[in-house]
Amino acid sequence: MLKWITFAPLIGALLCGFLGKKLGEKFVSVVACGSIAVSTVLAFFAFFTKLLPMPEGKRQITEFFFTWIEVGTFRADFAYLLDPLSGIFLLFVTGVGLLIHIYATGYMRGDEGFYRFFAYLNLFMFMMLTLVLGDNLLLLFVGWEGVGLCSYLLIGYYIERKEAGDAAKKAFIVNRIGDFGYSIGVMVAFTTFATVSFVDKEIGGKVIPSLFTQATGQAVEGIGVFGVMTAIALLLFVGACGKSAQVPLFVWLPDAMAGPTPVSALIHAATMVTAGVYLTARCSAIFTKSQTAMLIVAVIGAFTAMFAATIGIAQNDIKKVLAYSTVSQLGYMFLACGVGAFSAGIFHVMTHAFFKALLFLGAGSVIHGMHHEQDIRKMGGLKKYMPWTFGTMFVGWLAISGIPLFSGFFSKDEILWQVWSSNSLPPGLNKTLWFLAAATAMLTAVYMTRLMVLTFWGKERFKVAHGDDHGKHKADPHAIHPHESPAVMWVPLVVLAVLSLVGGYVGVSAAWGGSNHIEHFLAPVLAKAAPVAEAAHGAVTATALHATEEAHHDVTTERIFTGISVVVAFLGIFLGWQMFTAKPLRKMPRLLENKYYVDEFYDAAIVTPIQGVSRNFLWRILDVQIIDGAINGIARLFGETGSAMRFLQTGFARSYAAIMLVGAIVLILYFTFR
C-alpha cells in the first residue's frame, strides 16, 4: 500500500516524461493529476483506516522492500515507515500536491514544456514522499537530494531565461553546503548508535534499537557542553538550514521564485522547504539531548523569522514578498523546535502549507490575470476583476496574519505560548525570543496587508504603468485587461481557502476548550526538551518535570498571551492598512529594499574570493601548469624519445641487415658463453 503512494507519481513522471510530448497536454494533465490523486486517496486511506485505529503509542506501519546497503554492521533498507509524524506530512503533501497539480494544468496551459514540467513535478512528489516515508536517515537523504534535484530542475524551468538558470544553480550550490553537514551528521550518528534507522532493526543476528530509543537513553548535554549528541544535532541542523532556508543559508529561496508559480507554491512554500523541520522533529530525541543545539536552533529560527519579515516589508515583487514570508514562517517552525515544542512546529508546518500554498497560487492567479506582471506597484484595484482570487487570498491573508479562528492563528499562538513558557532555554532568553517572535507576527501582518492593499485595493496603477512602458499604447488606457483565472485554477484556491479556514481546529489548545489533537497524536514519536535545571544538576529531578506540567496548565496566563497575539495581529493589519491605503507607493528603507545587502556581502566575502582562487590558482596554475603540464610533459617525453630514435632509421636496407647480423651474433655469443 505505502509503495503505491510513492510509486504512482514516479510512474506518472515516467509516462509524462517519455510519452507526454507526443500525446499532448490532455494526456499529461490526466496522468499527472491522476497519479497524485491515486497516492492522495491511498494516503488518506492508509492514514484513517490503518494508522488511526491503532492503539495510541503503537501507531507504526512499516513496509519493507529490500535491503539497500549492507556492509559489515551497517545496514540501510529501502523500507517505508508510516507513523504519526510521517502520517501528517503524508496527508498534506499529497493533498496540497494534488490541488497544486490541478491548478498547474490551468496555469501552464499552452507552455511548450508542459510535459517536462509535469514530469518534474511528479518526480518531485515521488522524492518528497520517499523523504517523508523513508525509515532511515539514508533513505531520507535519497528523498532529500531528490527533491533538491527537482527543485533545481523546476527553478531553472524557463531555460531561456538566464536569471532562472542562475537561481537554480544558486539553490543547488547553497543546498550542497547543508547536505555536507547532513551527510557528516549521518556518519557520526552511525558511529555513535550503530544504526541509522528510525525503527528497531536486526543487523547481524541481533536487534539494534531505533535512533529514537537509543538517543532517549543518552544523558542530556547542557549548554556549553560539546558532546557527540551536540555534534550530530548541529550537523543535521546545518542540513536543515540549507533545505529550509534559514540564516545564513536562506539566500537561495527568494531567488528560487524564478520558477513557475505552482512550483513556488508546492516546493518552495508548502512541502520541500519544510523538510528541515521534518528532519528536526524526526531526530527530536537527538536534538533534545543537546541543550546547546536546541538553543542554536531556537535563536537561528527566531532571528531568521525577524530578519526575513523585515525584508519582506520592502519587496515589490509579489512572489518575493511571499518568499521572504516563507523564510520567516520557517523560522517560526524552527523556533518552536528549538524550545522543544516540536508538535507546535509540525502544526505550523501544516497550517502554513495550506495558507502559503493558497497565497502563492493566488499570486500566480494574479500574475496570470495581469499577463505576467509581478510588480505590486503596477497593480491595484484588482478585487473587482478577480473576485475568486481576491476572496480566497483574503482568507489566506487573515490566516497568515494570525486573525482568530483562522488556521494560522492557532499554530502561531501555540508557538508563541510555547516559547514564552519554555524552560529549556537559559533564563530570560525565552522572553527575548518571545518578543522577537511577537514582533515578527506584527511585521507579518504589516507586509501581508501591504501586499493585499497594493494588489487589490486603491487606484488601478497598471494602466499608467503600462503606458509608461510602451509609449505607443498611451492612447489606449485599457491595454492591460486583468481577468479572472479559469475554474481549474480558482477551484483549488477555494479548497485551500477552506483548509486555511478550518485547518487549525485539529490543534486548538486546552486553554480554549480544545484538546489539541495534533499534539497528543504526535506525542509518542517526539521527544520532550529537558528543562535547563535538569542538565545543571545532572539528573532528572521530579520538581523540574512537575514544573513543566504546571507551566502547561497555566491556563490564565496562556489566555492572556493569546490575547496579546490577537492584539498584535490586529495592530499589524491596522498599521499596514493605515500606511499603505494612504500612500501605497511609500518609499521603503533602502537597506530593507536591498535585503540587507546579504547577497552583495556573500558575493564579496565568498563568491569573489572563490572565483579569484579558482581563476588564478586552480585554473591558471593547478590546471594549466601542473595537470596539463604533466600530461603534455609525458606526451613530449615520448615525442622527444621518438625523434631521437628516428636517426636509427637510416633508410638503407643493408644497414638494417647489418644490425640484424650484429644482433644475431650477440645472441649466439650470449647463449654459447653464458
Binding site: Q649, F652, R654
Partner: protein, 100 residues
Amino acid sequence: MVPLSWYLALSAVLFTIGVAGVLVQRNVISIFMCIELMLNSVNLTLVAFARFLNQSTGQLFVFIVMAVAAAEAAVGLAIIISVFRNRETLSVDEESLLKL
C-alpha cells in the same frame, strides 16, 4: 666417407658468403640470390646432420625450407618487378621513401 665437419665447414662458408653478399651488394636481385644461398647452406647442414644421426627429421625440415623459399621467391620477385616499374631502379639504397 666424408666426415661431418667438412659438410658443416662448407655450409658455414656458403652462409658467410650469403651474409656478406646481403651486406655489400646494392642490386636487389643479387641480395635476393644471397638470401637463397643462406637458406641453402642451412639446408645442407640439415641433411648432413640427418644423414649422420640416421634420422629423417632433418630431411623433412629441408622440404619445409624449400617450400618457404619457393613462396618467398615468388613474392619477392613480384615485389622487385613492381618496385622496378615504379622507381626504375634496382638499387636498395635508393628505396628509402619511408625515411623522414
